[in-house]
């Protein structure tokens, strides 16, 4: 502590000098400048570069070698002969990835929020070993997504632990990861398993913030548990649920690492999501279509902006509702 104050004492004359030269208002910029510089270089600049790549063609990485192509990449990406038949699309795999991402997001987010809510309600009660169970549900969140995927791949592969169990019970092994529907099911299951603990924790924090006297009043009024849940718990938990919903939706749309390791996007394109499409188009193929990948990532960004705006709108509506009440 002593060393720290000595360090700040050394800096004080510099701060005073900066304040005298720039004025009290402008000196604040000096303090935020390092963070702004990092943000600018690693966030804003890549966004601008992304726009540049999306508007240029060719396979060269160096900007000077890329010819201008306007909106061609977007046209290639989005154009379909018949939008009800994906095989007529220029980049049908992009569209398959879009539909897969939407389907995944709806199912994964919906199921995860329900399971996280139920788990949080159970863990909020005075059950035996409550601390242990909270740790059990939170533990997968601490694991790297690649580790999660590898563990599940080991369990699910054709000669994995699950099939060994089936064979031991004289049952036929199941191709968990090479049949489209099974593979899609497992991507959702593994994703929920890996992330549910985090959202459970947010909901649990919300549950613990609900004043106990409300429940006591409900009990005195002989309200049923179901009615208590609907009339007290869920309305007061709504701000937390909105946060959980939006965070989970953004994370679901960005899904990549777990699924890429678990299924590689297959079988076929059954579990190919937008981020994997971007990665493969821009980096994994040896004729690297950076422009097309950039156009796809801007399309994804547009989705995420819409989602974030929806979150803001929902939060504001909730705030307004509270004020009116």
């Amino acid at each position: 502590m002593g060393r720290l104050s000595f360090f700040f004492n050394l800096l004080e004359p510099l701060f005073r000098l900066a304040q005298r030269l720039l004025g009290t208002q402008k000196v604040a910029w000096l303090f935020v400048a390092p963070n702004l510089a990092v943000f600018g270089v690693f966030t804003f600049l890549p966004i601008i570069i992304n726009f540049f790549y999306a508007a240029t063609a060719g396979v060269e990485l160096m900007p000077a070698n890329r010819p201008y192509s306007g909106l061609d990449n977007f046209e290639t990406l989005l154009k379909c002969g018949d939008y009800t038949d994906l095989s007529t699309c220029n980049k049908d795999i992009f569209w398959r990835a879009v539909f897969n991402t939407l389907k995944f997001s709806l199912l994964q987010v919906g199921l995860m929020v329900v399971f996280a809510l139920i788990t949080a309600l159970v863990l909020n009660r005075k059950i035996i070993g409550r601390g242990f169970w909270r740790s059990v549900y939170f533990y997968p969140v601490l694991l790297s997504p690649v580790v999660v995927a590898l563990i599940w791949k080991w369990l699910l592969q054709s000669q994995g632990a699950f099939n060994a169990g089936l064979v031991a019970m004289d049952m036929q092994p199941i191709e968990w990861l090479t049949v489209s529907d099974w593979a899609f099911f497992w991507t959702i299951f593994v994703s929920i398993w890996a992330h549910m603990g985090f959202y459970t924790l947010i909901i649990l924090a919300g549950l613990q913030a609900i004043p106990k006297d409300l429940y006591e009043a409900a009990e005195m009024d002989r309200a049923s548990p179901w009615r208590t849940l609907r009339r007290i718990t869920l309305p007061l938990l709504m701000p937390n649920l909105i946060v959980v919903l939006v965070l989970a939706a953004i994370k679901a749309i960005q899904v990549f690492d777990e699924v890429f390791v678990l299924t590689g996007g297959g079988p076929g394109s059954a579990t190919t999501f937008i981020v994997q499409f971007i990665y493969q188009t821009g980096f994994a193929e040896q004729i690297q279509l950076y422009g097309l990948a950039a156009a796809a990532s801007l399309t994804l960004a547009a989705f995420l902006v819409i989602l974030t705006l929806a979150q803001l709108r929902l939060s504001r509506a909730d705030e307004m509702g509270k004020r009116e009440r």
Binding site: G58, M62, T263, G266, Q280, E285
Partner: protein
């Protein structure tokens, strides 16, 4: 040295290691290995260092996927090692460095590597020297002989067709309760061999790539063999996109009777199969037009990103010398691309009968290679054919599209990619 002094040095060294950037007097070599290729090169590098004080050679052993996916991006960004072991010979040629001016004896290089030098040249008739082929390879099948013996099924002869091999391996798989009869590496390169055998010309009269009836016939056969259970589903249906997947592990684990891989796997099989079962390389089965595999190989190439061209040339001279090359070929059980050594015959000391037989089969198979197979290997944008093949054929296998649609999509994807690459 105190910790305070050591710390920044360690940090700088760590960063350099992460970035794969060479320091002064240091050559960084990016190497992948199917067997012991990088290990042998590392031994040679130590001897080179002893003979050339002041030059340090760092062999960075990386997975093959890194060579395929990350090296091109690094090179495009102006970063990368001094030397790399690559298989996309023509595709990366724009990044190769001409070392001819710094070599001790150009005539030696021309005499021994001249036949394949053109595969590495960025332009036709280029006289530069950019590296050398560390080995020649050929795609081809391996079979589990023990399973054939257990099933008491005779192995088809050298001119047998794919259909005959399918019939025989299916019988073997049924009799021995093996999971599947066959598996092919999930690779457009491997697929091209049977495609050429079924009559794919690969290029039209103008030299542009084309997906023709022969290619379509091969796709139909392959998808059909997946649908009737001949092929092990995991290898192709187990991934999405154009990701490479090897069939060798399934072979080693005894899950298939026959695989389509290539000569570079000989050492790997020798090491990993051990005494578990007897295996053999067999000639490429025939289609309607040929019995061809695809030639290829890996090359050591000098890269423009190097800041030590003289040291790079000296090291290349060292590992390309007849003594080093003979040692490399002998220990890695590869087919030599060195003219003098090929003429003499390589000495595969310690090679098991299976390895010797496999090397003989693959060397003999060179005579059966169809002209289209050579043309395909030498085509700069051959990845534009290979990668969509993997993606689209898998989609047909899992039922996302019909075989006819898959073939049409391969053609469109290929045309688009080549058009984009030429912009």
């Amino acid at each position: 040295m105190t910790f305070k002094r050591l710390h920044p040095i360690a940090l700088a060294a760590g960063l350099a290691l992460v970035a794969g950037v060479a320091q002064a007097g240091e050559i960084r070599v990016m190497c992948y290995q199917d067997g012991v290729e990088c290990d042998v090169t590392a031994e040679q590098a130590k001897r080179f260092e002893a003979q050339n004080p002041g030059t340090k050679v760092v062999i960075d052993v990386v997975p093959y996927k890194t060579i395929v996916e990350q090296l091109p991006v690094q090179l495009a960004a102006g970063e990368g090692p001094d030397i790399a072991r690559v298989t996309n010979l023509g595709g990366l040629s724009q990044y190769y460095m001409d070392i001819s001016a710094n070599l001790k004896d150009r005539k030696y290089w021309d005499a021994n590597f001249g036949a394949t030098a053109g595969w590495l040249a960025p332009k036709p008739n280029d006289k530069g020297i950019y590296g050398f082929m560390s080995q020649l390879t050929m795609t081809g099948p391996f079979v589990n002989k023990t399973l054939f013996e257990q099933a008491k099924v005779a192995m088809p002869g050298p001119k047998a067709t794919w259909d005959e091999w399918v019939a025989a391996t299916t019988k073997v798989a049924k009799a021995t309760q093996t999971k599947a009869a066959m598996a092919w590496d999930r690779s457009g390169h491997r697929f091209a061999g049977p495609a050429v055998s079924y009559g794919a010309a690969m290029f039209d009269a103008k030299g542009e790539p084309v997906i023709d009836a022969g290619y379509k016939a091969a796709v139909e056969k392959f998808v059909g063999w997946h649908k009737d259970g001949t092929m092990l589903r995991e290898v192709w249906a187990g991934s999405g996109g154009s990701t490479y997947a090897s069939s060798v592990d399934e072979f080693i684990n005894g899950n298939v009777v026959m695989i389509l891989a290539g000569s570079w796997q000989i050492n790997n099989l020798n090491k990993k199969v051990g005494d578990n079962f007897d295996w053999a390389a067999v000639p490429n089965p025939c289609g309607t037009n040929a019995c061809s595999g695809i030639p290829g190989g890996a090359a050591w190439v000098a890269l423009k990103t190097s800041k030590s061209p003289k040291e790079v040339a000296a090291f290349m001279d060292f590992i390309a010398s007849e003594a080093s090359y003979t040692e490399f070929t002998g220990k890695t059980f590869n087919i030599p691309a060195h003219a003098a050594l090929a003429k003499k015959g390589a000495d595969y000391a310690g090679a098991t009968p299976a390895v010797s037989n496999a090397l003989k089969v693959f060397s003999g198979g060179v005579a059966n290679l169809a002209p289209a197979a050579y043309a395909f290997q030498g085509y700069k944008y051959n990845r534009a054919i290979m990668l969509p093949t993997v993606t689209r054929v898998t989609q047909a296998i899992v039922g996302e599209m019909s075989t006819a649609d898959a073939v049409a999509k391969i053609s469109t994807d290929m045309t688009d990619a080549v058009k984009e690459a030429k912009k």
